[in-house]
């Protein structure tokens, strides 16, 4: 199992944070372009899912899978969007994303008055805590023995 990348978008579509761990294929476009593309896709998938749903949705769009990877999506009622890309063997990551929001983002960004909420996160502490947390996940760790 592997975790590839993590994205954090605010409600306006600004990419607040991006991290990668085992991303093998580098894109040719710039990061900014990639963020815009990613946000646009999420926005479209969300409205796509809600329009096509035959019943009232509780949670909306949660994840999608391709032949190579799985994208996990979590959105707070305040519009913060957390995205985690993993390989196919990883199960439900909702709790993990929720945990990143409540014990890393809220603790080290929201509660730090020097961190602006609508600009990319530069806090080293946040960076460190997130990296530490992701690397501690079982979904991440087994990748080491496997690869």
């Amino acid at each position: 199992m592997t975790i590839f990348t993590f994205y954090l978008f605010d409600r306006n579509g600004t990419c607040l944070y991006y991290a990668e761990w085992n991303r093998k294929k580098q894109l040719t476009m710039s990061k900014d372009e990639e963020f815009k593309l990613m946000y646009g896709m999420l926005f479209s998938i969300k409205s796509f899912a809600s329009r096509l749903s035959p019943t009232d949705m509780k949670e909306g769009f949660l994840n999608f899978t391709t032949s190579k990877y799985k994208l996990h999506f979590f959105e707070t009622p305040s519009g913060l969007k957390l995205i985690l890309n993993t390989d196919l063997s990883v199960g439900n990551m909702k709790d993990v994303l929720q945990q990143i929001f409540s014990s890393i983002y809220v603790e080290y960004v929201v509660k730090n008055p020097l961190c602006k909420l609508d600009q990319p996160i530069t806090s080293e502490l946040f960076k460190y805590k997130l990296d530490e947390y992701v690397k501690s996940l079982s979904a991440f760790q087994t990748s080491k023995t496997a690869s």
Partner: protein, 180 residues
């Protein structure tokens, strides 16, 4: 690490008097700094707004709550969950407008005003105006444009403190550039 150490001991409780007195000192300083009560009210509202914008994230992280489907549900969450969590009290929700877009929070006691007597000459001061800003800021972050104001205040001789909330509109999600 120190953050975690604090958390382990006494996670989210702080002495209520410390909070009340700190708030009192803040208001007293604003009264010194500004010429009239209206400006003080405005500053308190602004500060509250800035707090609310951040506080909502803390609230969502702690309460682990989904989206509210209507304004009545919002009212319940504010009164029963949010006020309880941050101020340790549960205001009564009442005085719904016919359209269901306006309600009041009735507070029998207001922790901010525990040791306060308004001196004469400050009839326009809304001492606890910070609260209005907090509610407005927090609700704006969950896509609700709401007006919040004090209509009754025990400090001004009313029997009860009443905060009135009026729902204006739902704020739409930002559309990414290039769409539509």
């Amino acid at each position: 690490m120190s953050r975690q150490a604090n958390r382990a001991g006494d996670p989210r409780k702080v002495n209520g008097e410390l909070f009340t007195l700190t708030y009192g000192a803040l208001v007293a300083q604003l009264i010194k700094d500004y010429e009239n009560d209206e400006q003080v009210n405005k500053q308190l509202d602004k500060m509250g707004y800035n707090m609310g914008v951040r506080l909502i994230e803390d609230f969502l992280a702690r309460a682990n709550m989904g989206r509210c489907n209507d304004f009545r549900e919002t009212a319940d969450v504010i009164a029963k969950v949010a006020f309880k969590m941050y101020l340790g009290l549960t205001p009564v929700v009442s005085n719904w407008s016919a359209a269901g877009d306006e309600f009041s929070l009735l507070l029998e006691s207001n922790p901010l005003t525990e040791f306060v007597e308004l001196p004469s000459g400050h009839n326009n001061l809304n001492y606890s105006n910070l609260m209005c800003g907090v509610l407005r800021g927090a609700l704006e972050m969950v896509q609700m444009d709401v007006d919040v104001r004090f209509v009754q205040d025990t400090l001004k001789g009313d029997n009860i403190t009443e905060i009135r909330l009026k729902f204006n509109k739902r704020l739409e999600d930002a559309v990414p550039v290039g769409e539509d």
